[in-house]
């Protein structure tokens, strides 16, 4: 069951990479929040109340509802056009990510323990790579933020790999995730939209040598 959810998670990454409209992208992010909730729920067999509350807060409320809602709000408030504006064609992106998925699986196979011991590491590294790829291959600042959110999802999955033994680290990771995302999104919402109307990266390249 967990493996199925993880595979669907990878498929949602493909959707993010090939999305033409920002709305599709946001829907995929919301869906990832739901998937994360399922993965967490199945993975952590012993749950105390604090963990459960934090987990619900993080995945269901924060990742699946609040962030997508806030992204919608940002797009409306700053009148961002609806395309994702990649530098690279969608076909190339799809090709690159598929390549990454395949190589990660093969590499994980060579590690001791085999793929299914390391499945969380595999999925997490694919997710983190996809997040970084989205950050460098898109033109709009808001897509950078979305790439960062995907990267954070990867970190959360990674913490699951260790998490059963070290719940303190998982909780810390979740708190970091919430804190940083609020910080980054908050700055984006309040300030950048006011200064730069179109909110594209081209406006943010004046500090250089």
């Amino acid at each position: 069951m967990i493996n199925l959810l993880l595979i669907i998670f990878i498929v949602s990454l493909f959707v993010c990479v090939t999305a033409i409209r920002l709305k599709t992208f946001i829907k995929a992010i919301a869906f990832q929040g739901l998937l994360l909730f399922g993965i967490f729920f199945l993975r952590l067999n012993e749950i105390n109340t604090l963990n459960l509350v934090l987990l619900l807060l993080e995945t269901l409320i924060f990742k699946a509802i609040l962030i997508p809602y806030f992204l919608h709000y940002l797009i409306k408030r700053n009148k961002i056009t609806r395309e994702t504006d990649p530098y690279v064609s969608n076909f190339m992106s799809l090709f690159i990510i598929t390549f990454v998925v395949m190589t990660t699986f093969f590499l994980a196979n060579t590690l001791k323990g085999g793929v299914f011991e390391n499945i969380y590491f595999v999925i997490a590294s694919i997710t983190i790579f996809t997040g970084l790829y989205l950050i460098i291959s898109r033109r709009k600042i808001i897509t950078h933020v979305m790439g960062f959110i995907i990267l954070e999802n990867g970190v959360v999955i990674l913490s699951l790999a260790v998490g059963v033994e070290m719940p303190m680290l998982v909780n810390l990771g979740i708190l970091l995730d919430i804190f940083v995302t609020v910080l980054v999104l908050g700055i984006f919402a309040i300030k950048i939209g006011d200064f730069f109307k179109e909110a594209e990266v081209d406006h943010l390249n004046r500090l250089k040598d």
């Binding site: 983190i128 970084l132 600042i141 950078h144 960062f148 990267l151 954070e152 970190v155 990674l158 913490s159 790999a161 260790v162 033994e165 070290m166 303190m168 680290l169 810390l172 990771g173 970091l176 804190f179 940083v180 910080l183 980054v184 700055i187 984006f188 300030k191 950048i192 200064f195 730069f196 406006h203 943010l204 004046r206 500090l207 040598d209």
Partner: protein, 476 residues
């Protein structure tokens, strides 16, 4: 004491933010400085004892904490001068001051944290507070600077977290228990090599955003460029030391394992690349602040190489960090005055500083000798130690590369600083333009910093040498 310090300084931060009254904030800042010094003295007395569960003042932590406490009152002094000259509204001033207090608190406690995760949380708090300082001017450029800083630091903080997870895996197999640095050092031999390597790579890459080394150095450059100069002084001294300490602690764990050689080569590669970048950008910078920022990258690279070269190199590297903090802070404080006199941040507009502000010009001249490690400077001694250790370990090619790149950097620094001091622009400016007079007293603390660097280099006091030797011993 650390708990009291944390609570009191948080209270001071909040009340500076709420009251927004000049005399109230001045007295609160003085209170904070007293608190900071009390903490420093107390931690020095109770060296190597566990406090508040997660904090242990060790030798290197105390050295860096003392640097912070020396720089803190100066930064506040120059901040008040800066804020007065700009005539900011009380609200903006209050935000600036409380962010500065929070930054100093986070930096000081990060030096003392003995738990990997606690140190990491405090590093994240430094990101938050410094981004407020970067945004102080509220222009498009400063927004760009703070956005880039937040974004890159957030990515780097995620990287550090991944590294901590890997470290957790490594320590699980060694049954090392909680992730205390002291625990990890004791159990270093039993850590799993693969996960330790992964942890080292990720945590090092993450901390470079603060240290200013190769993969993530860009964030720091923009930050120092856009922040007000008293804040930049802290960014390029105490805040860089936070990152350095993170690398230092982690590297001292790997130094007891088979991964040591591998980790050393990671550090050497990163610092050579940083030095190349610093030299390349130094030749084409257009503003003084960015030039000083790249010079910080250079010195951090030298110190990092020193870490990998055995006891003598580590000794030199810690000494280098101390001298670099004082010198660079002094130069950034002086830059505040430069900016008020020439009213432009670009090197192309600079000139005639010697006539307009003689005492400040002397500080710059002295600072130039310090930062390029020309003999009366203490940095000459520390760089000499580092190069000697390189020689002893047979890294001749590294010395050649470093010598060439450092020559380029010295040439660029020389060209730009001497232009500022002595160059006469051919087209005379409007003679009606009033050039602001800078009081001689303003330069006195900067002179004191520079003379400290000379004095500590020539005649280091015994307790300092003992502390550094203790820190070197943590490498086993």
């Amino acid at each position: 004491m650390i708990a009291i310090y944390l609570i009191l300084s948080l209270l001071i931060t909040i009340s500076v933010f709420i009251f927004r009254n000049k005399s109230v904030s001045v007295s609160l800042v003085i209170l904070f400085i007293i608190l900071q010094w009390t903490l420093t003295v107390y931690e020095y007395i109770t060296l190597n004892t566990v406090q508040f569960l997660y904090f242990t003042p060790d030798a290197i932590g105390i050295i860096l904490l003392t640097i912070m406490s020396i720089l803190a009152p100066m930064s506040f002094l120059y901040s008040f001068i800066y804020l007065n000259s700009r005539g900011d509204s009380p609200k903006v001033m209050a935000i600036y001051l409380s962010a500065l207090i929070l930054l100093i608190t986070a930096i000081s406690t990060a030096y003392l944290a003995n738990h990997v995760a606690i140190a990491w949380i405090l590093v994240e708090i430094t990101t938050l507070s410094s981004s407020v300082l970067i945004y102080h001017r509220r222009t498009e450029r400063s927004l760009e600077g703070s956005w880039k800083y937040i974004f890159i630091c957030s990515v780097s903080v995620s990287l550090i977290f991944m590294g901590i997870l890997f470290l957790g895996l490594a320590s699980q197999q060694a049954k090392a228990g909680e992730l205390f640095y002291s625990n990890l050092i004791v159990h270093a031999k039993y850590l799993d090599e693969f996960w330790l390597k992964a942890a080292f790579l990720f945590i090092f890459a993450g901390y470079t955003a603060k240290t200013g080394l190769f993969p993530m150095y860009t964030a720091g450059i923009d930050a120092k460029d856009k922040a007000p100069s008293p804040a930049s002084a802290i960014f390029s001294s105490a805040l860089m030391n936070v990152g350095f300490l993170g690398v230092f602690r982690l590297y001292s764990i790997t130094a007891r394992t088979n991964v040591h050689q591998w980790a050393s080569s990671v550090l050497i590669i990163s610092s050579v690349l940083s030095l190349i970048i610093a030299a390349a950008y130094m030749l084409r910078v257009r503003s003084f602040k960015r030039m000083f920022a790249y010079s910080s990258v250079e010195h951090m690279a030298i110190a990092t190489v020193g870490l990998t070269m055995g006891p003598l190199g580590i000794f030199g590297s810690i000494l280098h960090i101390i001298f670099h903090s004082f010198t660079k802070a002094g130069l950034f404080y002086q830059y505040g005055a430069v900016n008020r006199v020439i009213k432009s941040k670009f090197i192309s507009d600079a000139g005639e500083y010697f006539e307009n502000n003689t005492s400040g010009a002397l500080v710059l001249l002295l600072g130039f000798f310090m930062v390029t490690a020309i003999p009366p400077s203490g940095m000459f001694i520390s760089e000499f130690f580092i190069f000697k250790s390189l020689f002893q370990n047979g890294y001749l090619w590294l010395i050649v590369v470093f010598a060439i790149l450092i020559t380029v950097i010295i040439w660029a620094l020389c060209e730009n600083i001497f232009r500022l001091l002595f160059y006469h622009p051919p087209s005379h400016k409007d003679s009606t333009e009033i050039i602001e007079k800078v009081s001689v007293w303003e330069s006195v603390p900067q002179f004191a910093l520079m003379i400290t660097v000379i004095y500590l280099g020539l005649n280091p006091p015994d307790y300092l040498v003992q502390l550094i030797n203790q820190a070197v011993k943590s490498f086993g």
